[in-house]
């Protein structure tokens, strides 16, 4: 049986293959297809289910909704909360709001890119980290700020990046350890 290449985020089905995945998808889509404005909620549900929006899923969505693939792709790429690449276990988000930006956010971002060897919007080969940027996490007084999952790291210096990320590298970091690193 062909193994799925997708990192599936839903509980207990990390080894699900594409066929099963699409069959499951069809059930879910049925709830949305006839609802007006059902496209975006359907896509949100799919993203929750798969962790991201794989291309075969988007193709199936376009067929079921009777919308062109280009339109579905257009909607996907318009909203930043949709992702077409698998998300890593940990989401690293760098604030590039005005305060963070002027206080070195850009250098921090560069350091993270270098450390993880990925660009914004990408995921590391080991699927551990994804990288994104954001605008103002509401901690301007403590700029520059990054978030890893739900943890806020303040006054981050490029030199400290390696240490922060290592906390999550084996994905076993306890909240207490994370707390220490802040």
């Amino acid at each position: 049986m062909e193994r799925s290449t997708h990192a599936c985020a839903c509980a207990g089905c990390s080894e699900q293959n594409e066929e099963q995945m699409l069959a499951q998808l069809d059930d879910i889509l049925t709830d949305y297809v006839n609802k007006p404005g059902g496209l975006i909620p359907a896509m949100q549900t799919c993203q929750k289910m798969f962790g991201y929006l794989p291309k075969p899923v988007l193709k199936r969505i376009s067929e079921r909704f009777g919308k062109s693939y280009s339109e579905v792709a257009g909607v996907t790429s318009f909203y930043s909360f949709f992702s077409t690449v698998p998300r890593g276990k940990h989401m690293v988000r760098v604030c590039l709001g005005t305060a963070c930006y002027v206080r070195g956010g850009k250098e921090v971002l560069r350091a993270i890119k270098k450390e993880l060897a990925i660009d914004v919007g990408e995921t590391t080969a080991d699927r551990n980290f994804s990288l994104d940027v954001g605008r103002c996490f509401g901690a301007c007084g403590l700029a520059p700020v990054i978030m890893v999952d739900d943890d806020v790291h303040q006054r981050v210096k490029p030199a400290k990046i390696g240490a922060i990320l290592r906390l999550y590298a084996d994905s076993e970091a306890t909240p207490a350890e994370a707390e220490l690193a802040k």
């Binding site: 291309k55 193709k59 376009s62 067929e63 919308k67 062109s68 693939y69 280009s70 339109e71 579905v72 792709a73 257009g74 790429s77 318009f78 930043s80 077409t84």
Partner: protein, 593 residues
């Protein structure tokens, strides 16, 4: 009615009129870019801003309806400055190599810059990411020229119901194109070229095949024949500043001859041939259904329009049996030229080059379909658009407007008036009825001037019924039958009609579908800009051409009769089956990786 004042002129217009339309009525021209006549305004380009007294900001005239008592200044200093800025910003992102652009001298952005006297661009900006997409036989997309006006998106989605193009991404990084900035051949594009017809700039154009034609013309080893589609003669004149609807059949023939084509033939000949085959096919299907009580795919659909064929292959695979098996006139012509005619004059098919002049970009796709090679080589080598021919004539140094009229060569050059009207919506159906009715009853179609009035005009879906009475003995089974026909143009309309048929809401025997609004006269390869007024004028010209012919019915064409006598025997014979008919295949909506 609403009273407004535009540039100090008082005018009364119906409520709901936009400022843009009202201004037009007092002879004021407001520039536009994203605006598309008859479509919901999207207000994207801000090139049409005007000043409305009392309003804080300028208004987009294409999207703002007039209100009672409105006082509008369209060309105040403020309005002119704002519009100029909008164009300058577009130019700052634009790859403006006009001299080497295929839209040079035929570009709305260039014209606007000129009309606004923009001498330099004050805001040098980041250029759009260039994406050159040459993945399809019919079209080339050059993203570095795109000004994101979204006209193509409107046409592809709302008019053609295809949706190959859609804005991808957001903000400055938006790319207008197929899913995830893939190439066009990775999504379901039917190659109709309506996007290229409305694009104001050089961002979507037909794939240029003129170089291959020049090479063939310059090669003494090649015997080069040309065919011209019915819709060309009513539009080519526009490439040389003639009014839309100027018939230039004779000048076109002379120009082609002077360019060096060995024979100047007519797709119209093949249109008459199509009627012989398709009319017979329809009658055969009806007979099998009514007399043989067989399960026959009805209604039958016309198959002349390659964009429609590709559309059906994507979206209505369950209806492929219903498509007439007849090749389009372009392909019938190629197959006849490279077999019957080639052997008649002793030229090997490999040494013959068939060039077609088409109003259409989908014809470029069609002639490259792998099955279109019944002569052993590709039956049609190059399909050029009307616009490409216009450019070649210019390049050949021919002063088109002063040319004397020429005549098409024999034997693939003669045509009836029925062939002419293949150019417009309703025409193929009318041509088929002219012949089929006469075959069945032995009498001429009993309609004024042989026109089926309910099928003419620009209504999106048209219906007609024709009662058949007093048939010839062989066709008795049709006596008293009411033949129901339907016509749709523009694929959105076609889609609506097909769904009505599938749901059983519309009972019909024979359906004509043309991909482009108005039919071929409004094709994606015609001179720009085609709006409904231009469509009407071209259609009038086509009807004039039809009515001016001595022969008005396909079966009366003596050259057609001769080709049947010498070569095919009769319609639907084994040889015609081999050369004049084809088959279709279902297509996947997206490329499976």
């Amino acid at each position: 009615m609403v009273h407004v004042t535009i540039n100090n002129e008082a005018i009364t217009v119906p409520a709901g009129t936009t400022i843009l339309e009202a201004a037009k009525q007092v002879g004021v021209k407001i520039p536009t870019l994203c605006h598309l006549e008859g479509q919901t305004p999207i207000g994207a380009c801000r090139v049409c801003l005007v000043e409305v007294e009392g309003a804080r900001t300028l208004s987009a005239s294409c999207a703002t309806p007039v209100a009672e008592g409105m006082v509008i200044q369209t060309h105040s200093r403020r309005a002119r400055a704002a519009r100029k800025m909008a164009v300058e910003l577009l130019l700052s992102e634009h790859d403006g190599e006009c001299q080497t652009c295929n839209r040079n001298q035929d570009c709305e952005l260039q014209t606007l810059a000129n009309e606004m006297s923009i001498q330099f661009v004050r805001y040098p900006g980041a250029r759009a990411r260039p994406i050159l997409d040459q993945s399809t036989p019919g079209l080339v997309r050059d993203n570095s020229k795109c000004i994101k006006c979204r006209r193509c998106v409107t046409v592809c989605n709302s008019i053609q119901a295809v949706g190959a193009l859609f804005p991808q991404g957001r903000g400055f990084d938006t790319v207008i194109g197929p899913a995830f900035t893939l190439d066009l051949d990775e999504v379901a594009c039917v190659q109709c070229g309506q996007c290229a017809a409305v694009c104001p700039v050089g961002a979507i154009s037909e794939r240029d095949h003129t170089a291959g034609v020049w090479a063939a013309l310059d090669d003494p080893q090649k015997y080069v024949v040309v065919q011209t589609a019915p819709a060309i003669r009513a539009a080519l004149g526009e490439c040389f500043d003639n009014e839309p609807g100027t018939l230039v059949t004779g000048k076109m023939v002379t120009a082609l001859r002077r360019m060096g084509f060995n024979r100047v033939f007519d797709t119209n000949f093949a249109a008459d041939l199509t009627i012989m085959e398709e009319g017979t096919e329809l009658l055969t299907r009806l007979k099998r259904a009514l007399v043989g009580k067989e399960e026959v795919a009805l209604p039958m659909f016309t198959s002349c329009s390659p964009g429609w064929i590709k559309f059906a292959e994507y979206y209505h695979p369950d209806f492929l049996e219903n498509l007439s098996t007849c090749k389009s006139p372009q392909q019938m012509f190629g197959a006849v030229a490279k077999t019957y005619y080639a052997s008649k004059i002793g030229v090997r098919p490999e040494d013959m080059v068939v060039v077609s002049i088409m109003p259409c970009t989908a014809k470029k796709f069609e002639c490259q379909r792998p099955e279109m090679n019944d002569s052993g080589v590709f039956d049609v080598d190059f399909a050029l658009t009307t616009r490409e021919l216009g450019k070649m004539i210019q390049e050949a140094g021919i002063d088109f407007n002063s040319l004397p009229d020429g005549k098409m060569d024999s034997i693939l050059g003669m045509s009836s008036g029925a062939a002419d009207i293949f150019a417009n919506t309703g025409g193929v159906m009318e041509a088929a009825l002219r012949t089929a009715y006469e075959i069945v009853t032995g009498r001429e179609l009993p309609l004024e001037n042989l026109h089926v009035k309910p099928l003419a005009g620009l209504e999106g879906i048209k219906l007609a019924a024709l009662r058949i009475e007093d048939t010839l003995p062989a066709w008795e089974f049709l006596d008293g039958v009411e033949l129901k026909v339907a016509v749709a143009h523009g694929l959105g309309n076609a889609n609506r009609l097909i769904h009505a048929i599938k749901d059983g809401r519309q009972e019909v025997h024979f359906v004509e579908i043309m991909t482009c609004p108005g039919g071929c006269i409004g094709g994606g390869g015609q001179p720009r800009f085609t709006n409904d007024e231009v469509r009407q004028k071209r259609i009038q010209a086509i009807y004039a051409e039809d009515e001016g012919k001595q022969l008005r019915k396909s079966h009366e064409n003596v050259e057609i009769q001769k080709v049947y006598e010498e070569f095919f025997g009769q319609p639907l014979s084994e040889r015609s089956h081999h050369l004049l008919h084809t088959h279709y295949k279902q297509r996947e909506l997206t490329k499976k990786k």
